[in-house]
Symmetry: D2
Subunit: 407 residues, 4 copies
């Protein structure tokens, strides 16, 4: 990153947008903070690089991309006479910069294993509050917007809604780095079509096909990328290896791990006991702690732990089946029995290797609709504005069941 220098354009190269400009020195200082620098070591897409080898981009880069798009959005809205004060601008920029700062290592894997039941949004908020103290309360407005409590609703919607800046960056970025060009969206065009009506963030009528396209692209990204079979297997195996490690830790067994990882393995962290110390430890935990530990666990005496670890590292992944119906008990039992014949583990432990999971995706939710501003100045839910494409079909969650087992 370029040096901090007043009157100089601080810019960063971005393969997608060309250049990203750091808008001011407060934001520059936040980026320099170790809490934010940690995001350099957290992959945006977890283990998806096992499927898409180009997908090694980080949460750090995504957050910077969001800053870039937010600057564009503010420029567009002001051009259309939507008033946004200097303070609000800064609040928006900081809120979007930090919206994902609470993501754990390998993102969602961690949430479902070692820091169960605390969402990354809650942890983001804890980080923001901590930073607010360090930065003399200059983040207060950003926090208000992030929490959705600010009185101007559309500002909150730019941070979190079905067409927020977060999605505009991550869909484009993930599509770009995976090489799944079909998921590409025109964030520029969508932003150019943004407007505000009745304090709602809306899309102008002529952007209607772009919104349709955005929803379809998002849906495609879910089924082709985020819920890609091989990616799902890998993530589940990662969750399982961490669960097993935690189980062993609970029993008092020794495990190779960095200090912050040990903290989360040997303590039961939940919302109540999430202390300042916990946050500090969390701020030191990233993909490198997890993966280096798993590499060592290959040599651990516990068979479950070592086998799962070895499979993840050398990409010997389970077989996976995916279907609309639930997986029958018989089918599961058969695979379990078969695997137990091969390997000397307990019946309970076999669940680390043979398991099912319900996955679902809802392409569009009616709850907080995307509004189209029609030519008469009325707001219409996109699912009703679209003339032909049955967008309402997209509101029905698609549910699938996966079944994983060793080859």
């Amino acid at each position: 990153m370029k040096k901090k220098a007043p009157n100089k354009l601080k810019i960063l190269n971005d393969p997608i947008y060309g250049f990203i400009q750091i808008p001011n020195s407060l934001i520059f200082d936040i980026i320099e903070h170790p809490y934010f620098q940690r995001l350099r070591r957290i992959s945006q897409m977890g283990l998806s690089n096992l499927v898409y080898p180009g997908a090694n981009h980080t949460r750090f880069h995504h957050a910077l991309g969001c800053i870039h798009l937010m600057q564009k959005a503010i420029r567009v809205l002001r051009f259309k006479q939507v008033e946004i004060s200097k303070d609000e601008e800064n609040g928006l920029l900081i809120a979007i910069l930090l919206h994902d700062i609470g993501h754990g290592a390998f993102s969602h894997a961690l949430e479902h294993s070692i820091v169960d039941n605390i969402s990354h949004e809650e942890i983001s908020l804890k980080f923001m509050k901590k930073l607010n103290k360090e930065f003399d309360n200059k983040l207060s407005l950003a926090i208000e917007i992030f929490e959705g409590k600010y009185h101007r609703k559309f500002l909150c919607q730019l941070i979190s809604s079905q067409l927020d800046i977060d999605r505009l960056d991550y869909l484009r970025r993930d599509s770009f780095y995976t090489g799944v060009t079909e998921g590409n969206i025109s964030s520029d065009r969508l932003i150019a079509m943004m407007n505000v009506k009745n304090d709602e963030l809306v899309i102008e009528q002529k952007g209607i096909y772009s919104v349709e396209k955005f929803l379809i692209a998002r849906r495609l990204m879910y089924w082709q990328v985020y819920l890609h079979k091989t990616g799902l297997v890998a993530e589940n195996m990662l969750v399982n290896v961490l669960k097993r490690a935690k189980e062993l830790a609970n029993k008092g067994e020794e495990l190779f791990a960095t200090k912050p990882l040990k903290y989360f393995l040997y303590n039961q962290i939940n919302e109540e006991n999430f202390s300042d110390e916990t946050l500090k430890m969390f701020s030191k935990l990233d993909d490198y702690d997890i993966l280096s530990a798993i590499k060592e666990w290959i040599h651990h005496p516990d068979k479950v732990l070592s086998l799962l670890s070895e499979m993840i590292i050398n990409r010997k992944l389970f077989r996976i089946e995916i279907q609309k119906e639930e997986i029958s008990k018989e089918k599961q039992e058969k695979k379990k029995t078969k695997f137990l014949e091969k390997i000397n583990i307990s019946e309970k432990e076999v669940n680390y290797f043979v398991f099912t999971q319900k996955i679902s995706n809802q392409a569009y939710s009616l709850e907080k609709p995307i509004f189209i501003l029609n030519k008469k100045g009325k707001l219409i839910d996109i699912s009703k504005a679209s003339d032909q494409l049955n967008l309402q079909a997209l509101t029905k969650p698609v549910i699938k069941h996966i079944f994983c087992y060793p080859k």
Copy 2:
């Protein structure tokens, strides 16, 4: 990656080339091997992502990109009636796939600290020979080509020369991921202009501007990216922290490290004692071992180790000056004295913090020239074929001196 399946097109997404096809099942199996999978965890550009946040691509992806370009090159040459047998094709593909398999964690940093004096090419060769045994000597021809011993010289030049497939991929890939579009080269055009004359790999006359452009782009990438000031500082700090760790290990001090890292810290590996065991350990060492250790070393009692570690992780990098002349002793001493006033370390230890380095780059070497095939069928060294641009100036190595010290 897609499942292995006969009669099916095994393809991988690539943001640059669209799709990369795995040409046959032998190559598929080599890619699946843990030795090759390790490259997934080795960043192509070391710590350059501290400067260019998009530069998180891996050696794994680069090797696959090379496979893609090599397939193109073979197709072009055959179209021009250059005979390449099925075996030679396979040899070329495997040689280019594995040419970088010996790269250590964070690439060059490791070579200059913990496995001193053994080049990655030598280690690549060791890996290839090991794999050759496992794969029933099917890699023999690839090894011959890789070593430059095969009797058809142009095949060796496709693997290693001033215009080899390696460079065609990495310059394009690094330019792409850093977002430094000016370093972009037209690998497609250069390949389309390839031909063979007198067993030499040559470029046809009309490709002359493309070669010029390639050399200039490469030079630009060196000074703007590979030798970028901030990147140089970071790499030097990484080398220093590893050297310090090794120094402490030699004294018998305890250090947090994974097993393979410990192996290289606590043993003195050189060319003579590089055993099978060493290769095995090397095959388990990647960026994750290094970075997770450095993160832990922040809390190590040794001040030098902990301070350097903390600076790398939180990106509090040294100041760097760059100049054509050597850095004067006085200037160095002054900075050392100043730093010693601030911190309680020995005079010898201060060299970890205040140091100089000579860097150099030669844009074009006359030794193994790039030949242009002119219209009369003669081969001319590109540095003489170019009508105006003083390419011979590019043959002179540019030498610079850097001076690093804490802020």
Copy 3:
């Protein structure tokens, strides 16, 4: 274009695909033929450049793009053990190269004015037969495939079906040049997923989202680009000016025009009297004849002709309304009356200025379905294979009515 030279790679630059290779000298010679060179002077998208200033690409370039994709498709299918003989390959390449050679100046505008009731496909066929004579019957197989009469059905489907090579190129190309990135399709991926089953061209199961995306993108391109309001107005005005010219010609009035344009203005060409002479004249008619005439007609004494001409050239286009219902007679009459008050023309002539048109688009037709090859080897219509997206909704033609009148 590069010179014809045996043993040399004849390649052309293409902003989209990088390079397009001319596969052999027969095809090279066809491209050199004046009939084909004419396509250089026919815009692919008619007057759409009045809306999208980048859209100046030609039918010539599209045809070359098709050659490129067809080569890819053949390579993919052969890799999957689908046998395609050398002759069939050549037939495919020539058929796709020439599929649009019968397009008139400004494409569809001409079909609806001066050469009424003869489709461009029929004229393409006439050209192909003429060329077949000149090239010693080497185009016979290509013609058989183009006519859909070849016994291997899937070869015909590569030329003409709901997922043919034509569409794969033009959607991508039009999206590229207009800058409507949302219409972009992954032609590479779709081709990579192609296969043949029971002599049907099919898409493998894992390409299902790509086909969905393709259909949605095509639909988007229709409503956002091909049927863009301003583009529709311009095209209708172009048709009207040509109709008026023809009307005047019928009355024996003198009109500035090149010889081929005069031929079509002063003669009534229909399917029966379409002679060799007609074809020859047609082969000389392109966008330049039309537009240069319209420019001159600005100064013609006929008010209707001159006014329409001036409006097209200086882009003073009619106002346009678009709606689902038919335009009421009253509304039409009102506008006509209003315009008649301003200008001294007859009541019949006012129809050149105030008019309606019914437009429709069907995103997907059930008649010749796109088949998905599922994992059990069964063929399923994409509209049934898609799990959620109501693709059947896409089979319903969307009908809209436009209403144009002077501002």
Copy 4:
């Protein structure tokens, strides 16, 4: 183009920049003017599409691209505390929008045949003065800047210098549409590095490699594209056919031509007699007049005219040789004699078919240097600032001689 609408974002799609915003309604109105709309019908690169089939972009689009980059440049400079008033901004935008409005049909071909000795810059100025009257003198400041007379020198340099906005757009645009990716420049980065020092437009030190790259890319574009052999032949043939037509017109022979083309063929226009009427006629002359006439001239009784016309239209171009030395008289005579044996024309007329031309290009001129702002705040000529690459070699004009004759 989008309708004019206050408070609405008027944007145009651009395949290169994504979207181009029309900054205000005055500029919108200028764009709508027939003088400017004419640029839609003037190809940016003349007959280069005979070599690069993608190169059909127009002067219209280039001018809009310039507007886009100028907006960026103004934003960057203001960010660096360079004061630019609202009026100056508008002047800059209009000046760059109209800098090429005086280009004739097929650009340079016309300048060297039918409107000899008047540069397009002079005609641009005439147009700007005419428009200034129509728009109530709102273009006065733009004209001052365009003429280089405005007291703030750097504003003039943004319009015309060795690193002006014109070049930043056309190099990128021509590289993009030809598909010659090697000519691509990073206009974004160059603009981001712009600054003003001592009223000079300068590039900051760290942009030094980008400037080098820009010069090399420009040089490559000259030799590979603008002075491409086939393109040169085509342009010369176009000049010759127009010269012949003018010669015949002088003799009173009748020629098919539109009214404006006739005006320039049958009158001798020079700087002195270039009247308002001339400007009006010029404003109606575009590529369509020229090409449609040439198509008709194929059937003209004059053998020279008809033969040249036929060769251009059907792309049967002369052979061309290119060399550093002048073409010897003997060589020329030999070809002339040979051609005269084949065809019944006079010895004077043979010069239309067998001819030479001296071409030259200077990659960098020392006269109005590109200044680098070094870290001490000094301005240094780029040719001295570059550490190694012998940029001074680029200051030497390269001269070549071409020799054209029929195959």
